[in-house]
Subunit: 416 residues, 2 copies
């Protein structure tokens, strides 16, 4: 009955456009930081839309939202479709959003087609995936999967010193759903955020896993001084030292080309005044590589470089590794169902490794998990100009739908 | 009668300590940005203190304050003692402050000694000397001296977009005193903000002039991208480009050692998120050298370097020179009176060139002007740990007092 089912492309696209107004920017992007007023708006919208097709929406102690459509077998753990509705400060309309809204579209389609699945279907909006407001990224899925403690999650602070739990309660996002309930499987549709699918003309990426990631926070401390009256020989310029570290991060990534990447994304210089030699700079470092062992080598090279720069410039150094996510390998059965669905529709597909972290990377620890990538223009993401075609998003959503249905059939057979 | 007059060292020190509470920081410094609530507090305090010793306090259209003590000859332009009460975001207790409060101490001493001068004595608090909130620095003295138009002064905006005139009216600092009234002379006592006097054990610096200064604002534009999924080869990282410019600014200053200095003091990276390749960075550059011709060479070297970096990294560049202050040479007579006063007290002194800009640099264009420097610990300034001894500040105030009195005697003789 459900073999020929497809999602409603126009309705899915309309919900992407409609929700893009919550935090919408002049340049066509979205600024919807986790647990902000804009995040509250999209959460309310999502909740109402799911309830309208007969779902029950609950939240857990990290504010993650679970919209559950009942199955024939109420004791069977749900098949989850999860991603996130928060964005970067100047994010696009697709990153995270299409994963949740494709899930909503699937709930709507199953509802109007009157299809009863064996397992419940649960569409999940994971809180604070981006890590833009609260580091580390994928915080709530990490707590769900037991990677972080609930206390750790609640006590994260943003750059203004506001705790996660304070912000969560500020928008009423905290719920009472038990933390970390069992899932039969977890599927996530996402834009690639890289150039490969577009370059090769493939509609679907079957994601093999996620590369290894390490995050660091560094503070270099020198001495504030008058920019006119402090001779160069007497300076301890923390920003000059930081400039040298930024160059070193680039050098480390280039040394492990073409797969390694290295980024200084966040920088705060003090006192940040035109005529004062900067006395203190705080900054982040992000290093990634598909192989854990290679990333460990990069870590050593980075630490050596920073230590040497600080010593040579007479600067104090505090360097802390704040996140270490080993490489992730997704479930083979889930990946096979994605590939089979793509084949059934005649979509071109290939295996691919995710350069970005995703909630699925943590959920993979507690449930069979896999991801579907669709192309985005120019590989551009975390950018207001982020763009994906209606056809590609629809293709991804159809593959998602049929990977879920195939999983449900397998569960029903195993249970019969 | 007034030859043996000295200021009250303890009272001067007490007023430095008392006013340091307006914007006082935990580390013993001051955060008192121009036209802020803290600035309003110190302005009220200063006004009341001057009125208590019989002075009339007025303000001009830039909010600069003039506390006038009448002389025998009401038609004679006043002898001015000027500096500033605003500070850097993490400034110290001495920069600017001692120049104004030594002036107040002189008003008090003349008042209690019942001394009548020929010319009026006017103690001036120039608005927004630091340039920390409103660029360029020395904004109000620049308008007073006709270097900038009043419209230009009023229309400067801080980094939050608040106009100067809006902030001025917000604390009621605008006055109706005619802009740019005539001064018979202008003296300014200031900490050196460099290491020379301390290293040589001299109490007094007779300032020959101020070095040449240029300020720039630069924006490098690349492209926001996902830190995990954007390959190094496809990046246009504006922060990496900025790091290279910071290194180049350092190289330009070192190429003209030992007198040249170069600083990137202000940096704002967008979107400033851990996992986004920075797409746009705004930053300031400050270059200085005692000779105009040398600074012009440095300007060429800097522009070549930035242009080359932007082109090599595929970044857009907007580079604007926002301030160009030629080298300043102070009045020979005023300097001689400072040296003579230092000799009379037996204070060691030397000629010195100011590395920092000062209100006196602009006032020198419209009135005979000179400055007195006193040592500060380690040459440290624009720093909460900025420090000067009570004895050195008192020595500077005594020299200031007698340079003013000598100027008054010369005016009286010329007028008789």
């Amino acid at each position: 009955m459900s073999q020929n089912l497809t999602i409603d492309t126009d309705r899915l696209w309309a919900s992407i456009i409609e929700t893009a107004k919550f935090g919408g920017t002049a340049k066509g992007g979205i600024r919807r930081l986790a647990l902000s007023a804009e995040d509250a708006q999209v959460r309310d919208w999502f909740s109402a839309a799911c309830e309208a097709v007969g779902c029950t929406v609950t939240s857990d102690a990290m504010g993650s939202m679970f919209a559950r459509r009942p199955g024939r077998n109420p004791n069977m753990p749900p098949i989850a479709i999860g991603s996130h509705l928060d964005t970067q400060p100047t994010g696009g309309k697709f990153d995270g959003v299409i994963g949740v809204l494709a899930g909503l579209e699937i709930l709507r389609r199953l509802h109007e087609a009157g299809i009863e699945t064996e397992a419940p279907i649960e569409v999940i909006n994971w809180t604070n995936e981006e890590g833009a407001r609260y580091a580390p990224a994928m915080l709530a899925s990490g707590v769900f999967a037991g990677v972080f403690s609930l206390d750790y999650g609640h006590s994260r602070t943003d750059r203004d010193g506001v705790r996660f739990d304070t912000a969560m309660d500020g928008i009423g996002a905290r719920g009472t759903a038990p933390l970390g309930h069992k899932l039969s499987a977890h599927f996530e549709l996402h834009i690639e955020q890289g150039p490969i699918l577009e370059e090769e003309g493939k509609a679907i990426g079957v994601v093999r896993g996620v590369q290894s990631i390490r995050w660091y926070e560094a503070t270099l401390s020198g001495s504030d001084g008058h920019a006119g009256a402090t001779p160069m020989r007497l300076r301890k310029d923390a920003l000059l030292g930081t400039a040298r570290v930024i160059e070193a991060v680039n050098r480390v990534a280039r040394a492990y080309a073409p797969d390694a990447v290295g980024t200084v994304g966040l920088i705060e210089s003090k006192p940040n005044s035109r005529n004062v030699v900067p006395g203190e700079v705080f900054f982040s470092i992000d290093l990634r590589h598909p192989e854990d062992a290679t990333l460990a080598e990069m870590d050593v090279m980075l630490r050596d470089a920073i230590t040497e720069i600080a010593a040579a410039d007479g600067l104090g150094l505090v360097l802390e590794e704040t996140w270490n996510a080993p490489a992730v390998h997704f479930d083979a059965q889930c990946r096979a169902r994605i590939a089979a669905a793509a084949d059934a529709f005649g979509y071109g597909h290939r295996e691919i490794v995710s350069g970005a972290g995703h909630d699925s990377a943590y959920i993979n620890r507690v449930a069979p998990t896999a991801m579907i990538f669709v192309p985005c223009a120019g590989g551009l993401s975390h950018n207001e100009a982020e763009s994906a075609t209606q056809a590609d998003v629809a293709a991804g959503a159809n593959v998602l739908l049929h990977a879920v249905l195939a999983t449900d059939r397998a569960l029903a057979e195993a249970n019969s």
